[in-house]
Symmetry: C2
Subunit: 599 residues, 2 copies
């Protein structure tokens, strides 16, 4: 029996039972539990070759994680070492729970930007945010609520990312030019602050920042192509250069720090420096459930109130980023979204016990990991170890990293986040979706990123509702013998919001001359009560004016509903052979004519 068949029974008990059984079987099998701890799958097959490749990739990624970790801690307004801790512990957890070899977990610019306004009150909010976000993500994963993310559309995600890139870049103008004032909570705040304080621009920081940006952009583009006939030396040099390109963030920071160190020896400090970093291991312990702000003690409830409803955007963004990245690098294998949520949830919950900010998959570092040829999630282990070494041994050296260099690194990273091609695509194909994108970007830039994503999602809902309210209804006039007939084909879904529209439209499409009106319900799979009521009432009204109605191939459930609303309505329903079974073609024409001439 075809699903479009009007005689198809409603969802039976058998179907529900088999579903229950499937879930039960899944819960009891060892395989499905192993999938929840993917290390049990890849570790037994681990080889020395894998180890080498993972180590190389891990160290390459680690060299980027260090400057980015410090930079993103700066974006959030946290001490630099927090950004490093947030690269270490999530990396270790992801090795246990992560299902995608390429994904690299750590602090990201967007999460840092979302966090900044809470950290402005107390750094404790960062650790609590990591804990709560982790719990929320775990909950979504356990309850299999990942489908909720389907309601954040592509234009909203792009708009949000673009707004975030704009805001984060703008917030770095302060460090890049070493101007006074605040870096602002929104893009517009930051821009206004920049122009208000433009007279305080410092020459040397500006020169260093701009040089950083230029150096990074040049290095990114400077790839050497080796012909196949090249000497072994030439190809080895090219491979070496590739590694230089990949470690460009670390190199730039290293160069700038050396410069600052040498100038410092000569007692010149033209740049704003990162300053003292309290290296070593973090203080382990539960995340802070109370804090002190301006001499006032805030308990857990007060802290929750500070996060408010929009605090939910942080975990949502964390999942969105991470799953989008996993999908982008999964190739043709499918991504287990539930497992990714469990992994990211665990990363955040565990790392919140070690002074970390919220973390998730990072696009730039994941791309680097992939390009460096990582084979298993063990790459995360090597990255974490490198960062751990750095924070324990090199903390004093970080003192000399100029802030303008870090700002330059952040701004360059933001260039790749801005999504502009989507504007062209949407302009050409869907102006309304472009509006959703614009709403997200403008709200995000003007009121804050959280409000951008919420406004975008709301605009999408409005668009979906507007569409549900105006389903297309087409009428075709034709003749059977001498009789004027009209056929009305109903769309797939008549939702409650379309009740008024359907009634008006039917009245308009039925021309006064039409003796017989054929309403084609073949494709109608869902009809709400309000629509059925209005449809029955307009049909009964039009029958009083002399039209005759033939309701063709309606589903059993819709026939029952309409009969329920108007006793005796049943007589108008006629079934013909289901056309779709014959693909685009059937032998219904004969039946159809017979039915009309019988009237």
């Amino acid at each position: 029996m075809d699903a479009d068949d009007p005689r198809r029974p409603l969802l039976g008990n058998a179907q529900a039972n088999s579903r229950l059984r499937r879930v039960a079987a899944k819960l009891c099998s060892i395989e499905s539990w192993k999938r929840r701890l993917p290390i049990t799958i890849w570790l037994p097959k681990y080889s020395f070759e894998y180890l080498l490749r993972d180590a190389i990739a891990g160290i390459t990624v680690g060299l980027t994680s260090i400057p980015q970790g410090i930079a993103y801690a700066m974006v959030a307004g946290l001490p630099p070492q927090v950004g490093l801790y947030s690269s270490i512990f999530p990396g270790l957890m992801y090795m246990l729970f992560g299902s995608c070899k390429d994904v690299t977990v750590g602090p990201t610019a967007i999460l840092a930007a979302l966090l900044a306004k809470y950290v402005a009150r107390s750094a404790d909010f960062a650790y609590l945010a990591a804990f709560l976000s982790g719990c929320f993500i775990l909950l979504l994963g356990i309850l299999q609520l990942g489908f909720l993310l389907d309601f954040i559309s592509k234009p909203v995600i792009s708009g949000f990312t673009t707004a975030a890139a704009l805001q984060i870049s703008a917030s770095q103008l302060k460090s890049l030019f070493r101007i006074s004032g605040s870096s602002g909570n929104t893009f517009f705040d930051a821009i206004i602050n920049f122009f208000e304080n433009i007279k305080t621009v410092q020459l040397w920081d500006t020169v260093l920042g701009i040089s950083t940006i230029i150096a990074l952009l040049l290095l990114k583009r400077a790839t050497i192509k080796v012909s196949e006939t090249a000497t072994p030396f030439a190809s080895r040099m090219a491979a070496c250069w590739l590694n230089v390109v990949r470690a460009r963030n670390a190199l730039v920071v290293f160069a700038a720090a050396i410069l600052a160190f040498i100038l410092n020896l000569k007692d010149i400090t033209p740049f704003a420096l990162t300053g003292t970093i309290h290296g070593g291991l973090p203080k382990f312990g539960p995340p802070p459930f109370s804090t002190v702000v301006n001499n006032q003690t805030l308990n857990f409830e007060d802290m929750l109130a500070v996060f408010g409803g929009e605090g939910i955007v942080m975990p949502l963004v964390a999942i969105l980023e991470s799953i989008a990245i996993a999908k982008a690098f999964a190739g043709s294998t499918t991504v287990d979204a539930t497992q990714e949520m469990l992994a990211i949830g665990m990363c955040n919950v565990v790392s919140s016990f070690a002074q970390s900010m919220p973390s998730t998959g990072s696009f730039t570092r994941t791309a680097l990991n992939h390009a460096s040829g990582v084979v298993t999630p063990a790459g995360c282990f090597f990255k974490a170890m490198l960062v751990l070494l750095a924070v324990t041994l090199l903390a004093d050296a970080f003192y000399f990293i100029p802030r303008a260099t870090l700002a330059g690194i952040i701004i360059v990273a933001m260039f790749s986040l801005m999504e502009v091609t989507i504007i062209k695509q949407l302009w050409r194909n869907s102006k309304l979706e472009l509006c959703v994108y614009a709403v997200t970007v403008v709200c995000g830039a003007a009121c804050g990123l959280e409000y951008g994503i919420l406004a975008g999602a709301a605009a999408d809902v409005a668009r979906a509702l507007a569409r549900a309210a105006r389903p297309p209804l087409h009428g075709t006039a034709f003749k059977v013998g001498n009789q004027d007939c009209v056929s009305l084909s109903l769309p797939g879904c008549l939702s409650y919001a379309s009740a008024e529209h359907v009634q008006h439209k039917v009245r308009r499409l039925v021309s006064p001359a039409a003796a017989v009106v054929v309403m084609d319900g073949r494709h109608l799979y869902a009809m709400d009560l309000g629509v059925a009521e209005n449809l029955v009432s307009v049909i009964v009204d039009l029958e009083k004016e002399g039209h005759r109605f033939l309701l063709w191939n309606f589903r059993r459930s819709h026939r029952l509903l309409m009969e329920d609303l108007h006793t005796g309505f049943e007589a108008r329903f006629v079934d013909g052979p289901s056309i779709d079974q014959h693909i685009l073609i059937g032998n219904g024409q004969a039946d159809f004519k017979t039915n009309i001439s019988r009237l």
Copy 2:
């Protein structure tokens, strides 16, 4: 060219221009302005016979408006005369602007219940609510935003009405049994209060209240059937009796007041009475834009803050009630919803200058008006005059109306508001819509009526989104020669929320053996960017696995979009003759086979 034709051009400039011209023509014609002041249409044709019939209907309705006006003022917690003023001025305005002869405007139980919590602070909120609601409704009418009401579905309206009837009945238990305590802001509050104070029940008020209910129910059912052979005297008696039945509310109140008056002469006052009414004309003047509550002066902004976001429910309910009533009594003529909004808006704005509470169409009084044979909106004039006479001349007599009698009248009026048959209909046909109904009733009864309607509307949106996220996709396997083929028919609308689902489903429906996959886009009229992206990506992936795709009869806009996302995608599209033009049948089969064999 058929609308389903894939070659159909997008909305052209010509179409947009003609629409503009239509709107301009509408604005300039005298006819369309006359429609905005319907009295200019019916008054020139007015006759003496109309006058007689309108007067009879108006007086009959007026006799019900007086007790109901006093009773609903009581529900809102306002002085009784306010309920009467709210019958007078809106009635006069509706005579000018109303387009439905039957509709009777005045205070309603639901609006009164919504108003009660604001009036508990100060009566000034009632007048301001009338003004603001009126302005809001006028605005909706002028901006033609009536379509927004389409998003409140039948189950939500029924659920809201039922919750309102429950709450209003429960709030009257206090007066019916004359118990102590408050009447509560919600159904549950009122019920809890009733049981907490059940020991304070007063015998005589209870007896009078219950007698009122029984008398009203008996009178309602006591119609006399006159056979056609009856004497003129018998049929005159029957007509007389019908008038008694119609004026039953007034009669019951009259009887109870006489009883209280007589007992009062003998110095016995067993019942709680309405008490002194400050009759006469209201104080005319602008509605209060500031007020004093507990010795604190609230300015306009503070008052707005008291109404809050949920204050918007009052005007919405006013329009919903009024338009639903107009439709119920319009018969086969269509209701001009915009004009109804303008009329109700004017009623409220103007009456707020004369100490009135918000008013809208009342179901019981409109039904009475219709049954009494009203011919034009002039019936409202006679009703208003009768109420005006009562409030100026009889105000002292109202002193003796027992509160228990008014409570009885309200409770009986509520019986007819409760919608229970819809539960049976929804149970049989749509359990999910039943959930929406239940959410509305439970939230309305537990948290307050505004929250009920908002929760119901939100539940409906969730239902619409869930449906958009899971569109039906069917696959049919068939053979052309030796080739295994699968045809996938896409539904009418693929919204952003379905992007993930569509990708998974396509992957599942395409069996590994299928050499050719035909994707049928005939019915697809809307596809969002995210869906197109995922569709393109899954098609490209599956092609790598050896399947070949044929995209059949897609619209031009969707073809452009997919080509835009993946250059070279165009080659997969094939158009055949549009099947729908031949109604259920076409000659596409041959073309279709040719195309497949050409691959």
